[in-house]
């Protein structure tokens, strides 16, 4: 009798142990699976959402860019939560207005410059930890969790497109989490793009009536950006480096 009871107790204990292991495995699976899936898709959530069939890009018509307008810069600041803190040498600038005066002719133009989202990005090549990465759809990003703040990418970027966060941050935008001691740059408003939208700078420029910035898929021959690039001359910045940037300029 007592033996039977013991066996019953043992059986119960075994079931409990098995159940425990089973539930533990379930918890582990539930915890790890998203991570494993993301690794399978390329290492991060941002990477996983990218569509390799697309290459996002911008075409900036310099003729339409008003030298006195900085709507694109302000829109980027609002959208992504970086701002002018009165320290021009250390404040982040994801996008900036640049004024060019031709040395020979004296012609003056103004245009925005931001991360050029290169096909062969030097920042990605030099990053020791792989924090700088390019998504399958061509958007170049910084993984803030593995950026160690070495700033080698800033040394390597030919366009001065990157900033280092020099101060503690407050009131961040939930669109673009930032971190002191890490490097950051234009994300092409990846949170909007992944939701089917357009970058904030493009939207703000269109709202001024200038429409100097066109956003679209460079791989889609029927997109407006591809048609404009096919019909009119345009240039990449530093074409000698053959980085094939996703950002193009016309009428410089």
């Amino acid at each position: 009798m007592s033996c039977g009871c013991d066996k019953g107790r043992e059986k119960g204990a075994e079931i409990n142990r098995r159940d425990f292991l089973r539930s533990g495995a379930a918890v582990a699976t539930a915890t790890l699976a998203p991570g494993v899936t993301l690794i399978a898709f390329g290492g991060s959530e941002a990477q996983a959402r990218a569509d390799a069939g697309k290459r996002w890009g911008l075409l900036i018509d310099v003729n339409r860019c008003d030298p006195d307008c900085d709507a694109c810069v302000r829109a980027c600041q609002t959208e992504n939560g970086w701002k002018d803190d009165g320290n021009p040498s250390t404040d982040a600038q994801w996008i900036r207005k640049v004024t060019l005066k031709h040395k020979a002719t004296g012609r003056e133009v103004s245009m925005p410059v931001m991360c050029q989202h290169c096909e062969e990005p030097p920042c990605v090549d030099v990053c020791p930890t792989g924090a700088s990465f390019k998504r399958a759809d061509g958007i170049v990003l910084v993984d803030k969790h593995i950026c160690i703040g070495c700033r080698y990418c800033m040394m390597a970027c030919p366009f001065k497109a990157r900033s280092f966060v020099h101060e503690p941050l407050v009131n961040q935008s939930e669109n673009a989490p930032r971190g002191m001691g890490t490097v950051e740059s234009c994300t092409l408003c990846v949170h909007r793009v992944d939701a089917g939208g357009t970058p904030a700078c493009v939207e703000a420029c269109a709202a001024t009536g200038k429409g100097a910035i066109i956003f679209g898929d460079l791989k889609d021959p029927d997109s407006e950006i591809s048609k404009r690039l096919a019909d009119y001359p345009s240039v990449a910045l530093r074409p000698d480096l053959e980085l094939n940037p996703g950002v193009r300029y016309s009428n410089i």
């Binding site: 410059v113 990053c127 160690i148």
Partner: protein, 402 residues
Amino acid sequence: MERTIYRELKTTPQLWQAAILLGAFIAAMLASVVYVEHHGHIVTGMNNQIVWGLPHVFAIFLIVAASGALNVASMASVFGKTHCKPVARLSGVLAVALLAGGLAVLVLDLGRPDRLIVAMTRYNFSSIFAWNIFLYTGFMGVVIAYLFTQMARGAPTRYVRHMGMLAFLWRLALTTGTGSIFGWLVARPGYDAAIMAPLFIAMSFSFGLAVFILVLTVLFRLDGRPLGEALMRRFARLLAIFCAVVLYFTAVQHMTNLYAAEHGGFERFTLLEGGVYTWAFWLGQVVIGGLLPMLLIWHPATAGASSTPVLTSILVVLGGLAQIYVIVIGGQAYPLQIFPGYEVSSSFSDGVVNAYAPRWPELLLGLGGVAIALFATGLGAKVLRILPTNLSDANIGTNSGS
């Protein structure tokens, strides 16, 4: 000529004073790191244009000097120079210590030094930085193994020779990697040159030997051990040759740039109009770090003076720091050429020479790295038998003529 006997440093008040002084510098460095960690890099002079500052000048100097400091051991084991054999152990310990000091500065200047584990667990092998992590840690391992073969009782001589050769080849790879950090930066007109790698190797020979001469002299004076003047003069003559090689590579670098119109602006900046960088180049690197040491070592009036090896080594160290300042800071100060043919202006310092004024947290960090290197060397000499008791010329077979 007696057998070479190695003994630990004696515990003297002078040794304690030196240790306390270096400890104070290390403590100041750690305080500086906590301060910057808390407030962010805003409290340094570095900014979004000059992203690598004074800490990197110190770090690169120490790392470059580390590989050079090993040369004395290489001359003994690889090239069979018997007068170098008694100091080969110190050469190895100093090399590891200098590298540790340099790496400490580099790591503690990171925006997120707490993420060092990330740098050690995630590698992007297209980055020369990632390769350097292996080259640096590997160098330490190889040199420690090399030291072991030198110090192990009864280890066959061929083991020392083989490890010496491996360490020599590794140090060449290491300095190639350090030079390539700059040489492979295609974006900046001050870098993007294959000559950076051999230039850095030449710099390492020169800076490393200068630091070795200084450390050897200080340790022997601290412990009251005899140090032969002829041996030091021999090292000094080698130092003069290394100075000449550095100047040669520097000349080739700038003359090649001057030939290409696209680099004319950068050369005008460095050689003529760069203010502090032009002064650092001509007065610091060329005169103080190159011509003056060569003159002092080779001129008959000064060649025989007992103070010449130490004096020239100090000049080479100062000139070396100036040279790395010009390369690291000057290369960033000159504006990026994003729009050739245009005058450029913006809110982000486009088209202008970037300003940089180092602040005290950076200086403390850099000096702390030097203190770590010296403290570690002293500690090595205190607990290990790496220093010979007698380096008089009579004892090691050097004479005034050789």
